[in-house]
């Protein structure tokens, strides 16, 4: 057999250099031990604990001041919020772009490998929903994405070809999907958006191979079910309680932790007397059965739009000589909570921003309400505002410092009660009027993870909705509302690096990864997706 030298070189090159580009498979075993491959960023939150902590150390507090842009990428559909949290597998990055596009990039070069865009209907209902997408999930050789018109789609990780599509719910009834799915062993878990227009929230599980629905957990009980008495009347069809965040998972306890949004109508509770379970709650779900093991409600009978969809961060700590499993959540209502994640028992809760609506939390973590804080027709000034003490943007936790890093919003708003409207799509109950930006500010706050006590803060100009990323290099990265990325010393909050991108709202979830021995940091600001590395 004659083989030309050229062909031989071609075959050899296929076998060597591009091998990095052909190994996108991610097993469940890898996901379970995501910290063993810190060069990848395998899922939303970085690991099942959602700690958003990277063990990479090439970029560290000594050299971060030299960080420079390596490449940039701009999405196809500009002028929509770019909120993606990328997943990186063996040098390939999967990002989502508004509206529901998935793009695979070479993570070292920023070069597009493939892109997939769904055929969305001309009319999409996204009332109260950003027309954006927060990322994909990857399992084996499949990329899973939620679409704005409420479908779950499985794509081939190598080509972007569609493997299957399932219709999750009716977009023309207000159901929309913007979150990143969570993959478990053979299951895809998704939540739903649209809580402000009177959907009935749920958490769904689908078979990873076939797309068959395995179970659905409703966030609003049917009449007669436990919790239904907390609505005053049957609101199971329109009570809201969306599930648009991405949950965390404890494989040892086999519990999935998923959070829920506000009850509807949002600023007027007269139509829904009671605690409104399971709105503004955290649900602990057995993913094998779809049964709720326990729940914890943060804001009973919410009238300020304080969705509890913040990311639950799982951490372990020894208390009184005993190893314990905890869950931390900095809530939109202004309180930082620690729960026992095995039992749901309330451990502690303290304000992490100025809040004027509760005297505190009682022994079970229920807020003790202050008078005159309900929305009124004239407007009632309450801290935090409707965007909350923090929002959907992820916090991070460093096991090295035992600090919880959250982008905190210090601002109040006049909350206005309007006439309750309860017929889709005309749904609502008032609104809010935020104070001037000059009367508020944003801050990265480092909290003692067990007590919530403030260790340090770094102030920003505007109240911001940006994630934080903690690294073993002793750093915390985040972004500002004005379009800056920056790095702080994780131990003391000292500013170590800043880069101005200029686009408003550096809101995407920053992540870090490594390709060919080089560590990168990446985040989106405005319509630009920027990767940084050391020169």
């Amino acid at each position: 057999m004659k083989i030309s030298l050229y062909a031989l070189v071609f075959v050899v090159s296929l076998l060597s250099a591009p091998a990095r580009l052909l190994a996108q498979d991610v097993s469940y075993e890898q996901l379970l031990h995501a910290d063993a491959t810190p060069q990848d960023w395998l899922m939303y939150g970085g690991d099942y604990q959602s700690q958003r902590f990277s063990r990479l150390t090439q970029i560290n507090r000594e050299n971060v001041h030299r960080l420079k842009p390596a490449w940039m990428y701009q999405p196809n559909h500009p002028l929509q919020p770019f909120e993606t949290s990328p997943v990186v597998v063996s040098g390939i990055m999967y990002v989502t772009e508004p509206l529901s596009t998935v793009t695979a990039l070479d993570a070292r070069l920023g070069t597009k490998i493939w892109s997939w865009t769904p055929h969305l209907p001309e009319k999409i209902y996204t009332v109260g929903v950003h027309r954006s997408n927060r990322g994909v999930a990857v399992l084996n050789n499949t990329v899973y994405v939620e679409t704005l018109d409420a479908h779950l789609v499985a794509l081939d990780a190598t080509t972007g070809a569609v493997k299957w599509t399932v219709h999750v719910d009716e977009n023309d009834r207000g159901y929309a999907m913007t979150g990143a799915p969570r993959v478990l062993d053979g299951k895809i878990i998704v939540g739903i958006s649209g809580g402000d227009v009177g959907i009935r929230g749920f958490v769904d599980a689908y078979d990873a191979k076939t797309g068959k629905r395995l179970w659905r957990v409703w966030t609003i009980p049917s009449p007669g079910e436990p919790g239904s008495e907390t609505w005053g009347k049957d609101m199971s069809g329109t009570g809201g309680a969306g599930t648009w965040g991405t949950g965390s998972y404890d494989p040892e306890l086999n519990l999935l932790y998923w959070t829920t949004g506000n009850p509807a109508p949002d600023y007027n509770g007269h139509n829904r007397e009671g605690d409104n379970l399971y709105s503004d709650s955290l649900l602990a779900i057995n993913p094998d059965t779809g049964k709720m093991k326990w729940y914890f409600q943060f804001t009973p009978h919410d009238t300020h739009d304080w969705d509890a969809i913040q990311v639950p961060v799982l951490f372990d700590e020894t208390v009184d000589g005993k190893p314990r499993k905890f869950l931390a959540l900095a809530n939109r209502n202004g309180f930082y909570y620690v729960l026992d994640r095995a039992t749901g028992e309330y451990v502690t809760g303290v304000p992490f921003v100025t809040q004027t609506w509760a005297k505190g939390l009682d022994k079970k973590g229920r807020p003790i309400l202050l008078p005159n804080t309900e929305p009124t027709p004239e407007g009632s000034l309450v801290y935090p505002d409707g965007h909350g003490g923090t929002n959907w943007n992820s916090p991070s936790y460093s096991p090295q410092t035992k600090l919880f890093y959250v982008s905190a919003r210090e601002v109040g708003a006049y909350t206005v009660a309007g006439e309750p409207k309860v017929h889709f799509p005309d749904f609502g109950g008032g609104g809010r009027n935020a104070l001037s930006g000059d009367d508020g500010y944003g801050a990265i706050r480092a909290l003692d993870v067990m007590t919530g006590k403030l260790k340090w803060e770094y102030r920003m100009l505007a109240p911001t909705e940006a994630s934080t990323l903690a690294t073993a290099g002793g750093l915390v990265f985040s972004g500002t509302d004005e379009g800056n990325f920056f790095a702080l010393d994780a131990a003391n909050g000292k500013l170590l690096w800043e880069f101005t991108v200029g686009g408003a709202n550096s809101e995407s979830n920053l992540i870090t990864y490594e390709v060919d021995g080089k560590q990168y940091l990446i985040g989106a600001s405005g319509n630009c997706f920027v990767a940084f590395s050391l020169p």
Binding site: H130, V416, S436, G437
Partner: protein
């Protein structure tokens, strides 16, 4: 919800709530003076040294070409009497934060140099001030010894004691006539 991308009934309610809490004088009041006399006063009082109308005048203060379409008579009269008070705000209104325009700052750099000016741009790490001569100063906040807001202050003098009530009304009438001067 994180925000909104289409205007719904709810968002319309937000806008109404926002408008309700806006400066009530922004679009109120009726100009009762003589705009011709007001124009003369404008020219004789040195206003054009700092303000531009239809391409003529200085650029230290805000342009006034369309000021009559942007503000109400009560608001303008108040501004002439107390220029640093009740400053206008810009921004996203009901869906985000608004920011105060023409806010004055007093900055001291590490070497002791003082910069005083009106904020024209700011982010978490930088601020650009325009001084009384119209010069821009871009400052890196971490390098500053101090940076203080000066609410209530303005480079513009008050005309409260230098013009009579009738003259103020004339000047307001002139300013209100500037809908889109060419």
């Amino acid at each position: 919800m994180p925000g909104s991308s289409t205007v719904s009934e709810k968002e319309a309610a937000n806008i109404v709530a926002y408008l309700r809490t806006m400066d009530s004088t922004t679009a109120s009041g009726v100009a009762t003076g003589d705009p011709k006399k007001g124009e003369s006063l404008y020219n004789s009082s040195g206003c054009s040294a700092c303000h531009m109308i239809a391409g003529q005048g200085g650029s230290i203060g805000p342009e006034l070409t369309r000021i009559g379409a942007m503000r109400g008579a009560t608001n303008l009269k108040g501004r002439l009497q107390d220029p640093g008070a009740n400053l206008p705000q810009v921004g996203e209104g009901a869906f985000g934060n608004r920011w105060t325009q023409y806010l004055m700052y007093h900055a001291i750099e590490k070497d002791g140099r003082v910069v005083e000016g009106v904020r024209v741009g700011e982010d978490s790490f930088t601020i650009v001030l325009k001084d009384a001569g119209g010069k821009f100063h871009g400052l890196w906040k971490p390098d500053l010894r101090s940076l203080e807001k000066e609410p209530g202050r303005s480079f513009m003098p008050s005309f409260k004691d230098t013009l009579s009530a009738a003259q103020l009304d004339d000047l307001v009438a002139y300013l209100m006539s500037l809908k889109n001067a060419q």
